[in-house]
């Protein structure tokens, strides 16, 4: 694992992973943050590949990039009048200190421990081996995982489902109120469905998401 190509792959993938994660912090727009998060996920999948864990790398892309990130984008679109600026709470100073401590401790442990000899062959045919051990050694966790996923599925549907007769009466007034708070520029059209493109840069790129709930509700 010390050829030039491997170095190139590792350092560029590490840069993508960490850089994407840093941009999640720095980015001022929540949608941009999710897209940088996806970049970081892809970098982690690439690092899995350099560790010759091809099955896990593809599972990573399939689930994190193809499902989880899309779910997050969906959730952002379905909460249209919430804040979108990806701002931080005053907790950011202790959090930053904690981050520094965790990174320092992790790096110290990683670099100072004697990890012993490394094994230099990969598991052959990982998908087969993992699958077989899932239904042999780990069959109980596997079943529990299945039950957990089913419970999460049912729970998520039960939570997110909106009963027609259950809608609070004052909902529309609430929506107007929060709109007025959010955009003092006062675009009455924005309340209908979507700010038209002519609404100017003040409405910004987050305004089309106001169309989100109607589109999602229709779907």
């Amino acid at each position: 694992m010390d050829s030039v190509g491997f170095h190139l792959a590792f350092w560029s993938l590490a840069a993508i992973t960490v850089g994407g994660a840093l941009m999640v912090i720095v980015s001022r727009n929540l949608i941009h943050a999710v897209i940088y998060l996806i970049l970081s996920f892809i970098g982690v999948a690439g690092l899995f590949l350099t560790l010759s864990a091809d099955f896990l790398a593809l599972v990573q892309i399939l689930i994190y990039v193809g499902a989880i990130a899309v779910l997050m984008l969906f959730a952002i679109l379905l909460t249209p009048h919430a804040i979108r600026d990806n701002a931080e709470t005053p907790m950011r100073y202790p959090a930053a200190i904690l981050m520094g401590l965790v990174i320092a401790a992790g790096a110290f442990v990683a670099l100072e421990t004697d990890w012993g000899a490394m094994r230099d062959e990969a598991i052959p045919a990982q998908a087969r081996v993992i699958g077989e051990s899932l239904i042999n050694h780990y069959v109980l966790p596997f079943e529990i995982g299945a039950v957990l996923l089913t419970a999460a599925l049912v729970g998520a549907i039960a939570l997110a489902r909106e009963d027609e007769e259950d809608v609070p009466i004052h909902r529309d007034s609430l929506a107007q109120e929060s709109l007025a708070q959010e955009a003092p520029g006062g675009l009455p059209e924005a309340a209908v469905a979507v700010a038209p493109p002519a609404s100017g840069p003040a409405a910004g790129p987050s305004s089309p998401s106001a169309g989100g709930p109607s589109a999602g509700g229709g779907a």
Partner: protein, 422 residues
């Protein structure tokens, strides 16, 4: 044909050229450079093939659709209109590329480029022959699923950044559809993997070769599910509600003009071609055709099957009207997913009987084929009965079918009853 290495001039197995080059590079350069060069060659070969093929496919699609609708199609530019796609591409390149003022510039400009990445990557695992594969991953099917699921994100970026309600509607529809239809597609491929016992795409072809059968006969429901689900993910016309022009202008690429739109259009066709190739590989035997692959270059067989599948896609587009989104969603969740689960169970039982050697494959596979075809027909019939849409009678004598060949000739005969066909 089993693993024998071909000489570089053997055009039946283009792997020979790539191996010669990489061995030559390895002679003077480091190892990683050799593998890098091999990968680069594969990628460049794929891009070089796809580009011109797309231009041909655009022409073919327009011609065939026109033929189905009793029109002539493009016939002005070049012989038989062959240069029409080139002219269209020139027009798109010369057009001004507009961007909405309120668009999110960074995300708006990226998608036409990003959308190419999965479209090219997905060709990496298609086996064009016993040795002709850019990467014979032992998780090839998973690779296919993972790569094709990332297209959704690019489409979402395009739709959201446009700052246009129709683009956003289109993007939301794409996400909802793709996530829904990924589940039946995975279930369908799961039955394929059950039967072949491998996740490697080349392994699936080899299983079909060893057992002398194409999976389409054994797993008709899986084939249908895969076809329908991939049509949904491709946004092609019977199921193209994400860019339905009668409802939401052009969907997620409403705001894209010039070559940016052209890139979306090209990628859509490239993806259709890739899905055709994957269908041919999974269900039609790939590069293998009952021994014909001994005589004809295997990649030609695969391309022929791909072309046949592409014709099926065009045919569907020319024949069926667009579905509504609620019809599509209920078809996915109320029919394809439960039936897919049922067939996963059926395939598991059948495969277990094979593994346990209750009977051997030569006796079992025909029985399985008959059983599965009957089961598929039964589920479709029951669903049609339950959903309250009985099969409709066709009109007894449609006008266009009166002529012997239908289409243009019939139209001409209708126009000149005494003239006869030319």
């Amino acid at each position: 044909m089993t693993g024998a290495l071909a000489a570089w001039y053997d055009f039946r197995d283009l792997n020979g050229i790539s191996r010669e080059i990489s061995e030559w590079v390895a002679g003077w350069g480091p190892d990683w450079l050799a593998s890098f060069v091999t990968g680069l060659l594969g990628a460049l070969g794929i891009i070089a093939i796809i580009g011109p093929t797309l231009l041909l496919l655009i022409w073919l699609e327009r011609k065939i659709i026109a033929r189905m609708q009793s029109r002539y199609g493009p016939n002005r530019v070049g012989p038989r209109g062959l240069l029409q796609p080139v002219a269209d591409a020139m027009k798109l390149i010369l057009k001004e590329e507009l961007a909405p003022r309120a668009a999110d510039k960074m995300i708006f400009l990226l998608p036409p480029i990003l959308v190419f990445i999965p479209a090219i990557l997905i060709w990496g695992v298609i086996p064009f022959g016993p040795n002709m594969q850019v990467a014979d991953l032992n998780v090839g099917v998973l690779y296919f699923l993972a790569i094709s699921s990332t297209t959704v994100l690019v489409v979402f970026m395009a739709g959201w950044a446009s700052n246009n309600k129709y683009a956003l509607f289109g993007a939301m529809r794409v996400i909802a559809m793709s996530i829904s239809y990924e589940i039946p597609a995975v279930l369908a491929l799961l039955t394929v993997v059950f039967f072949t016992g491998t996740l490697s795409v080349n392994g699936i072809v080899q299983w079909q070769q060893q057992n002398d059968v194409i999976l389409l006969v054994i797993l008709p429901m899986a084939a249908f599910t895969f076809l329908f689900a991939s049509t949904a993910e491709l946004n092609r016309t019977p199921i193209d509600i994400s860019e339905a022009e009668s409802e939401i202008v052009a969907g997620y690429h409403t705001e894209y003009s010039g070559m940016r739109f052209g890139l979306f259009y090209a990628v859509e066709l490239a993806n259709t071609l890739a899905i055709s190739a994957f269908f041919a590989t999974f269900f039609l035997g790939g590069w293998w055709l009952w021994g014909l692959d001994e005589w004809v270059p295997s990649w030609m067989i695969l391309l022929a099957k791909t072309g046949a599948m592409y014709f099926v896609f065009i045919w569907l587009r020319g024949t069926l009207p667009r579905f509504r989104i609620d019809q599509l969603m209920s078809f996915c969740w109320k029919f394809l997913v439960p039936v897919g689960l049922l067939f996963v169970a059926v395939a598991a039982v059948e495969r277990t009987l094979l593994i346990e050697e209750v009977w051997d494959a030569t006796a079992a596979l025909p029985v399985y084929a008959v059983v599965n075809i009957a089961l598929t027909a039964a589920t479709v019939a029951v669903y049609a009965r339950l959903s309250g849409t009985p099969a409709q009678r066709l009109p007894s004598s449609p006008i266009m079918a009166q002529g012997r060949l239908g289409g243009l000739r019939a139209a001409r005969e209708l126009a000149q009853p005494l003239g006869g066909g030319d």
